[in-house]
């Protein structure tokens, strides 16, 4: 397969910038594949596109340049400063392919969606790409409300035709992507493609997508520790979680409305794994000082034989963008392959990457891994 493009929504954010730097660094043989799941044999077996020809573009509402963002991120320890310097030219070229994002209230949603769709098609055509995977790595939005116009595709089209603006920002991009025949990754907990109307649209257009909310740190750990307690018949009594982070993502989540989406996806998995509600707070706090580094602390209180009470605690010190970027590349490769093989709608086997796996109730990481490896083996044989 040749000619894959990545189109970032949020193209100058921390994750998009780190992914772009990483892609360019790998292509220039300045970096290896650590953190890339798609290089593990069980996943590579799917017959994934090489990263060599991948072109990057995107939408962004913020000022600045990719080059400047790369400098800032490298100063914060996300990747070595030398990379930002060496890749400055390539980053400037990529920056030229970034278009202004959609700002709510500027024109109708119908016209905005048309514009986005046209830009996606232009990117595909101008770069001679077989397919373009749209990746939403923009700021987390609040959960969607209950809006009738989002319930069916017909209702949605009617509302857009009527000049209404029923779509959350992330969903507008998903709508445009699906209409342009672009596979989609919902890397954030924003509503994105998860509205009934858009579920319909993706199937109708035969476009595969994956989501939501990448599982990169504390939640990742929960989905291996939770099953451990379950497999050992130990009773988890409370599980308290604290996430401290700075950066753009932290700033966005400092607004409780935005954080509501993230807290919902984070809380999700544990109760499903344990099979019962679990007490304990789940905090996400903005600590500007911490920059792109997140520190999470979890306290698990559990009960064993004869009622004996024990506990476990862990501290995770991770660089969020560095954990996210290789997964973005993995998902782009996997969705390009899924598209090539004719998959449509949410791919449940890609739940391995997400806190809130679409079309799947499986949260335990090892079960997700087995499902992913199975999909890749089938894809390798050319038949899903």
């Amino acid at each position: 397969m040749s000619g894959v493009g990545i189109w970032f929504v949020g193209a100058r954010g921390s994750v998009a910038t780190t992914t772009t730097v990483g892609l360019l660094a790998i292509r220039s043989r300045l970096a290896g594949h650590t953190g890339m799941v798609s290089e593990l044999p069980e996943v590579a077996a799917a017959g994934l596109p090489s990263l060599d020809g991948v072109v990057v573009g995107g939408h962004e509402v913020a000022e600045g340049t990719l080059g400047k963002r790369a400098e800032e991120l490298s100063a914060g320890g996300v990747f070595p400063p030398a990379l930002a310097t060496v890749l400055a030219g390539d980053l400037a070229a990529a920056d030229e392919r970034i278009r202004p994002g959609v700002v709510a209230g500027h024109g109708t949603q119908r016209s905005a969606a048309d514009r986005v769709g046209a830009e996606l098609r232009a990117f595909r055509d101008e770069n001679g790409l077989d397919r373009v995977v749209v990746v939403d790595v923009s700021s987390t939005e609040p959960p969607a409300g209950d809006v009738p116009a989002l319930e069916t595709l017909a209702a949605l089209e009617g509302a857009l035709d009527a000049g209404e603006a029923p779509l959350p920002g992330s969903s507008l991009y998903a709508y445009a992507a699906f209409r342009a025949g672009c596979p989609y990754v919902a890397f954030t907990p924003s509503p994105g493609p998860r509205l009934p109307a858009l579920l319909e649209l993706a199937l109708e257009r035969g476009v595969p997508w994956a989501g939501s909310d990448a599982k990169t740190g504390e939640t990742l750990v929960k989905t291996v520790l939770g099953p451990m307690f379950a497999m050992r018949a130990l009773k988890v009594r409370s599980w308290s979680s604290v996430n401290l982070l700075g950066g753009g993502d932290g700033q966005t989540l400092a607004d409780p409305d935005n954080a509501a989406s993230k807290i919902a996806t984070k809380a999700n998995g544990l109760e499903s794994i344990l099979g019962h509600p679990v007490d304990g707070p789940l905090h996400i706090d903005y600590v500007p000082d911490l920059g792109d580094w997140k520190t999470a602390w979890d306290l698990v209180s559990f009960e064993g034989f004869l009622g004996t009470r024990m506990s476990m605690q862990f501290t995770w010190s991770g660089c969020d963008s560095s954990l996210a970027a290789p997964l973005v590349l993995d998902l782009v490769r996997l969705l390009a392959r899924a598209h090539e093989l004719g998959a449509a709608g949410p791919v449940p086997e890609f739940g391995f990457f997400f806190k809130d796996p679409a079309a799947s109730d499986v949260h335990a990481l090892s079960a997700q891994w087995a499902a992913l490896a199975g999909w890749c083996a089938r894809a390798g044989r050319g038949a899903l």
Copy 2:
């Protein structure tokens, strides 16, 4: 199936006492099954013997009584003091079935093994038991040296006939158990049944066994976190481990010779899971003050995308005997069933319970769970 007996080697140790108290408490409906894997549906599917008819006996070299040990353990928070009080009568009855253990240097190993065998048969006959599972929960011994007499069963029999004493203490019990047709659990890292001569013997006598060294705390956590890093293609650079514990086990392991066995089994799994050697110390320290509670701290340093260095640390605060006791009951039930179904030699699918799984290279907990569940499903259908 009816009539199962448990014969403890180390019958008044912390694990044996807690198991005995737990068994009696469950039978008297004073306690539930938290921590018992054999009550989970996937494992119960094997058709396991009930705990109701189980009789307990054993060997012990230490003074004191089960009742006294139960009081001490409950004062240390291992189980509620009320249990020790209520079950005092039953504990006294169990204590009557404890025989003096084998002390090195008192008589020949041949005569000691004969005595142990006779006592096992007497216990089975007097209590009308179908089968007796021998569980080694005695003090950890040093690793076995390279002794020619342990290499083949013929060499061993010859040496014993010649009045020699080639067997480590734990292996003498395993030898006697196998000759008496008793399934065996190597709950400790001691040599026990893992000598070539005894591997032969178990097969010859058609006796199943499981081992070695139960996986109850820090190592358990390692076998879910290790695979997490591997599945995410993150490179573990160092993994440092500290285990602080008091109690009888802590005291035994304060001797570096004894600790050598434990350190070997603990280190084992991680490198196998990650596929490469991992730097970092592994300490086991005796801190009398901590009693039966173990605190373990692990620091994992890992590398992600573009070489970014991150870390994770955890602290495990567990009550070792409380974590071990339900697994002893699980293993007794599973081995009784395996024996009933004609299994012989080490059962690789029971590796789920152990740090150093006999006849298996699988250390990742979820893979072990899948193997165990598979065995149980087959056992439930009556054909391994």
Copy 3:
């Protein structure tokens, strides 16, 4: 000195019950003095009253008995169950001296205050006591609003005479205590004696008092670590704190209005010690499962030479009532001595015990210790 009484507001709460059990246990030589600062030579030097003759009484609004509460607390590991059993008779006797607390809205505050005052005097007289120290260990209340009637004693007396109810619950007890000539300990962050009107009253009546909000755990640690960073010229950039607790106190603080008082007193000291505002969240979460045990986790991010960023984290696992009770006894002894020596108003040197030291800006523990030791030395010489 002889004849000291303790009068608890919240007499069947966790702290009051643990203190009462401890006092009785010490008197019966069933327990030692661990945790009692007043037994350290520098403090004992003040010439403090013995605990032998101390009589306990109090107000309480909750049902139940001291004996029952003691059983519950001991089941939760706050003290050995045997103590609750052995001291059952003494606890029942103390329970007889507990009077119904003041419930807002039942009658006027004037009449309630009169009733409380009469009960304090009756307790003193009936038990032939030289002095009675009132200790507020009742549920934390919200901060007081800006109420003109609380600004001067004259305004307050006028309002009470007019049938108004301007006093927060805790302050009503303080008002009654001062009028009855009783020294007072504000163990909680509730307004209590810290209103201008009551500051006047205490001085007018010549009564010493101490407060507010005992420093028993995470905040205690902060007041030694904070000065460490300051003395080493290291720049604290953020300090994030999480407190997880169950029990009655946890339940009360689950209400954000009540928690506001505690959060204010907890945040207080650090900025004063470091001399600049410090970023980072301060959470207090109710996790019922944890009972009377509190787990606190703090992450300190700091900057050193040449801008290098480092961090420190700690986890505190403490039993709050067990940490509080000996300090209650210390404060009773110290205030009795202060009263005997004629002190009036807040005693700044007792700031050692508090998160929000009255009449003092000193938060660093070692500086507080020096002040306390100085006061005790002077008291020992009989002249403050």
Copy 4:
């Protein structure tokens, strides 16, 4: 005061290099004073020399250059890479003033000491310095044995004259420094000036010195937490410590003989502070992967009122060289001032900086701070 020189023993080690970079950066206004105690008002009050005129030289046995070492350290995150680049010229100039260190077995100790002394005097004269402070930041050596020749100065001189080699390496430098009239800082736990013969020599020559073993991380924390437990009458039952570090220091301490010195100085303070022996291991482990960053974990188990058992744990993640370098500058300034004021022998008030304070039994950090501030106030008035 003008004209101070620093002479490093171990001039291209991590601490010396970081100190040199820092000194040059401060002088070029590229860095501030974070981490420098001598800039706090209580210490600056002593009237300390400015850093502006300070010249650096030293002895070193390793190959390489200061510039190269600075690059390596900055790549490891010890300071910003830009500093190494900008200061390359100044570092090269400083490197020219580094002389070959003393290698055991090359020539007699008498001749080596004479050579070192001559080089110290040459450095002082060529740079027109008032005084030169020698700072031992070379690799930690094993503890000194019991050697009669080290017991008195006369015996030492006799042995040296006789061509013997009784001096540990670090002590040879101290001997030469004292004879050249140079104040001395024993930043390491090596024997250095702490031999009876050298104590005599320092007094005889009227040279002040300070030591031993700078207190920069986990031990620093111990000396504020230990007093906290003591001031609250809480009984520390065990204190377990683990130090994981890479770098040159870590490599040196991987040898148990060298580590013996460090373990002795680290264990020292806690028991002195608490007034009783404390159980628990103290590990120092070499984990190359961690580079110049040390992670230390401590578990403190303590007992409170009525025997209740609680615990506290902390993790310290510090950059050792970054913590050490500003203290080196502080000590140089303080010793220069002490020398100017005529102090001789170990200065007990400088114990604030050390794990094993010479001529002092005070380990609690706040008491040490009070002593240091007192000394500085007296120095400020010109009379010690």
